[in-house]
């Protein structure tokens, strides 16, 4: 399996950081970068990462199964994660989640019909001090209110039109 030059460079870079015999430690970051490019984790990608990290495909499969940020199904162009863990819950995370679900008509790990947005209810994105938080791809949005969430979704949808 081949990747774009930019991704390939990232993969090589992360791979070279681990010493011989410890290449398996690069499995997670490599999968993340590869997923960013392809949009999902595919069987070919699992085989490729396994080969490069000197582990069996099954061992990569175990990692993919365990971590929720690695998706075997294709997610939307914008993967919007809304935290409903304790700090966000107390500051309105649950309402944000319900609002997004209602507005987009999709649920957890589902994608809008146009493939633009997918939603994920996450357990702590690590931004409790600025709760509630919403993450769009790798981009964090802090102290989110329903209005701010609407603005975010509007801007995503507008960009396409």
């Amino acid at each position: 399996m081949t990747f774009s030059q930019a991704t390939e460079k990232k993969l090589q870079d992360i791979w070279s950081r681990y010493p011989e015999g410890r290449k398996r430690s690069a499995v997670i970051p490599m999968l993340m970068y590869a997923q960013d490019e392809v949009g999902q984790v595919t069987p070919e990608m699992i085989a490729e990462v396994a080969r490069r990290c000197e582990v069996t495909p099954l061992q990569v499969e175990e990692v993919v199964g365990y971590y929720s940020m690695l998706n075997k199904e294709r997610m939307g162009k914008h993967h919007v994660q809304i935290c409903t863990n304790i700090a966000c819950l107390l500051t309105g995370g649950e309402e944000l989640w319900q609002h997004a679900v209602k507005r987009l008509g999709i649920g957890h790990k589902q994608v809008t019909a146009d493939g633009l947005i997918s939603l994920e209810e996450v357990e702590c994105a690590g931004a409790c001090s600025w709760a509630p938080c919403v993450v769009d791809g790798y981009e964090y949005h802090h102290h989110v209110t329903i209005e701010k969430l609407d603005q975010l979704l509007d801007s995503i949808q507008k960009k396409v039109q």
């Binding site: 495909p57 099954l58 499969e61 175990e62 199964g65 365990y66």
Partner: protein, 702 residues
């Protein structure tokens, strides 16, 4: 008494339940307690495999430690005061069990594991009979992963034992764990099925009934079986297998009591390959060829007919040729060789030779203690495998080396014609085409000189003068070296030890009047009688003597039986008592597990033929213990300690020390190259072995 050079390591003193105990530093508390007879329950901990610390059952109280500690990860330390059974611990264990039972189905009445289930035992001990959990249990349907393995995710308690047994013990890595939390489950390596050794180690090691085998599932309850410890008849490694028998039918094979040289190890043949005994093609009546067709006759008629024919050929000075099976017991081989020489006045007896044991024993003349045992393979600091795909052809020996590398950091070297599994953990794996092994060995010489000791295992690529060359090369290393000459079948070693070769009497004494080898027998145009005892030499070969009278003792109507004039239905190794000698020269006892109606053991058939011929006194009594007594008394190297044998252990034979100057006929020594899924003449009659997708497999593929 001299003082030891190095002081023994200081022992650590600690107390468990008020009992002062000691253990070497670094010992895990759970192991130290076990050795002192204090059982600490655990699901995930398993001796010999890496630590998981997943189940929380082994929690104990340790003074000055604020919380309960997992005994499976806690090394003992000086002055440690431990309590293994307190109210607090019982409460914690009960809590853990209550959690496990939230989703574990209570289908114990139909579960294979019921009665020998570790979860059942723990709940019996600690309770958790009532649950605070009122939600619906998380359920997932049962899956079949291969013709052998079934997985029931609902019963799984995620102890990871199967994953570790497959990764570490077998070196296969066919099982993993996917997903997280309550939906975690074991997954096979090919999404919905397995591509593996089909050994079933995962099934045996499962503490609950999550992994079950197709041969045993829903067939019986553990307490309804008799458990018979005998020796697997498929390959030369000589694994002890405990057969579960119900109503004269073998329903299970395993070795959970860890008796024997193999501990818990068994491959697919030892665990599931017993089904050939119940194959509907088993012969159950003697047959005589009448008008060109084999017709069933009575035992007395068939025996009388053979005896008459043998007598007339003997009187006329005709030539006999005898092919001895490599699955026969030591007693049968000895008795057959004795009767052939003394009764039939012939040394034309041979077996299918698969390794050059004879030259090795000659080449090792003058050396003491140079034949390695199965145990040595687990303890040696270095091992060298030449010309064998060990994981395929000698699964127990490969398992021992793998465990040695894992537990003792042993260095493994391989020189093989293709890729082998040992390469995954070996210090060096060289590929060399057959015939060019020594060039590769020269590359290893320097590294091997630096080792403290070495065990060399070699296959049929090294035979004749090349064995002497190998021994000379190994002598040049300047380190202690032990040897294993790899042979294929369950009693290949016994056959050569006990006289089933044309030029050697039992105990490697040269025969003063050497006879014909197997190839010579098959090619002798003037052969009058060809007698195949538990062997099928006519598979893919012709008997040159068209007029020869052919007698076959066999379980099935194989190629030799199809050519035979008289066929005797013989018992399998699982229906016999006696002993067999494994590849390393260790003798073990066979115990009859079942009887198949209509068959007789080969020993009895030979004895009855001798009796009908009026030669009973020449051949002697045909009971296995009488013959063994004779072997024990007369055969050099078989003066083994009887208590070892009687208690089902393995006793090492000590063959002669060199001086076996005979022609070994190198061209007749060839390994059959059986894989994990084939087994000489037996494999094709095992429906299970032939049903796995990996069948027939191939050597040097991974």
């Amino acid at each position: 008494m001299s003082t030891p050079v190095t002081a023994p390591p200081a022992l650590v003193n600690f107390t468990v339940d008020g009992r002062p105990l000691t253990a070497p530093p670094g010992t895990l508390l759970i192991d130290a307690c076990k050795r002192a007879g204090i059982e600490i329950p655990a699901f995930c901990y398993y001796e010999g495999y890496s630590l998981q610390a997943a189940c929380r059952m082994c929690l104990v109280e340790v003074e000055k430690m604020p919380k309960l500690q997992t005994a499976c990860t806690l090394p003992v330390s000086e002055g440690m005061i431990v309590r293994s059974e307190t109210e607090q611990i019982a409460k914690a264990r009960k809590g853990t069990l209550e959690f496990l039972l939230t989703n574990h189905p209570l289908d114990c009445p139909v579960c294979d594991k019921g009665g020998e289930c570790e979860l059942q035992d723990m709940v019996f001990r600690y309770g958790a009979g009532e649950s605070r959990f009122t939600e619906i249990k998380n359920h997932a349907p049962e899956r079949q992963w291969s013709p052998v393995v079934f997985y029931d995710p609902a019963r799984c308690i995620l102890c990871y034992r199967c994953v570790r047994a497959c990764n570490e013990g077998m070196g296969v890595g066919a099982l993993g764990v996917t997903n997280r939390g309550v939906v975690s489950e074991i997954v096979p390596n090919k999404v919905d099925h397995l591509d593996c050794d089909e050994c079933g180690a995962c099934i045996d090691i499962c503490p609950v009934g999550a992994l079950t085998s197709n041969t045993y599932r829903y067939k019986t309850r553990p307490w309804e079986m008799q458990h018979v410890g005998t020796v697997c008849t498929h390959c030369s490694n000589g694994c002890k297998t405990t057969l579960g028998v119900r109503n004269d039918e073998i329903v299970r094979g395993n070795n959970r009591d860890r008796s024997g040289i193999n501990g818990e190890f068994l491959c697919v043949k030892g665990r599931y390959g017993f089904d050939f005994t119940a194959n509907e093609q088993r012969l159950t009546s003697p047959m005589i060829r009448l008008n060109g067709r084999l017709e069933a006759v009575s035992w007395s008629k068939a025996l009388g007919f053979v005896a008459e024919k043998f007598k007339s050929v003997l009187a006329a000075g005709g030539r006999f040729g005898v092919a001895a099976g490599t699955h026969l017991t030591n007693e049968e081989i000895y008795y057959l060789a004795k009767f052939t020489r003394a009764g039939l006045k012939s040394s034309n007896i041979d077996h299918q030779r698969t390794g050059d044991v004879v030259t090795l024993i000659d080449a090792l003349g003058g050396r003491q203690d140079v034949l390695a045992t199965v145990e040595d393979l687990y303890n040696t600091k270095a091992a060298l495998v030449i010309g064998s795909d060990l994981s395929q052809q000698h699964p127990l020996l490969a398992f021992q080396l793998r465990a040695d590398a894992r537990h003792h950091q042993a260095k493994i070297y391989t020189v093989t014609p293709g890729p082998v599994r040992e390469a995954n953990y070996s210090a060096s794996s060289l590929e060399a085409p057959a015939g060019e092994e020594f060039a590769a060995l020269d590359k290893l010489t320097e590294s091997l000189k630096a080792e403290k000791e070495l065990v060399i295992l070699f296959g049929d690529a090294i035979k004749g003068d090349r064995v002497r060359q190998l021994v000379a090369w190994a002598d040049g290393l300047g380190i202690p070296v032990k040897y294993v000459c790899l042979v294929d079948y369950s009693n290949s070693r016994g056959a050569v030890d006990l006289g089933a070769t044309p030029n050697l009497l039992p105990g490697y004494q040269p025969d003063p009047a050497p006879g014909l080898s197997l190839d010579q027998i098959l090619n002798a145009a003037d052969l009058a009688v060809f007698w195949a005892v538990g062997a099928n030499p006519l598979r893919g070969r012709e008997l040159a003597a068209k007029q020869a009278f052919v007698v076959a003792q066999t379980m099935f109507l194989d190629e030799t039986a199809q050519r035979a004039d008289v066929v005797f239905p013989s018992a399998s190794a699982y229906e016999k008592n006696g002993t067999v000698t494994n590849v390393t020269g260790q003798v073990q006892r066979l115990k009859a597990a079942i009887r198949t109606m209509g068959t007789k053991t080969d020993l009895e058939i030979i004895g009855l033929i001798a009796k009908e011929m009026g030669l009973a006194t020449v051949a002697g009594v045909w009971t296995h213990d009488a013959v063994f007594k004779e072997i024990h008394k007369n055969v050099h190297g078989y003066q083994v300690p009887l208590p070892l044998l009687i208690t089902g252990m393995a006793a090492m034979t000590q063959p002669v020390n060199g001086g076996v100057k005979v022609d070994v006929r190198v061209d007749e020594i060839r390994s059959a190259g059986d894989t994990l899924f084939t087994s000489g003449e037996l494999g094709r009659y095992s429906k299970l072995l032939t049903s796995v997708p990996e069948y027939p497999g191939a050597l040097y593929k991974r």
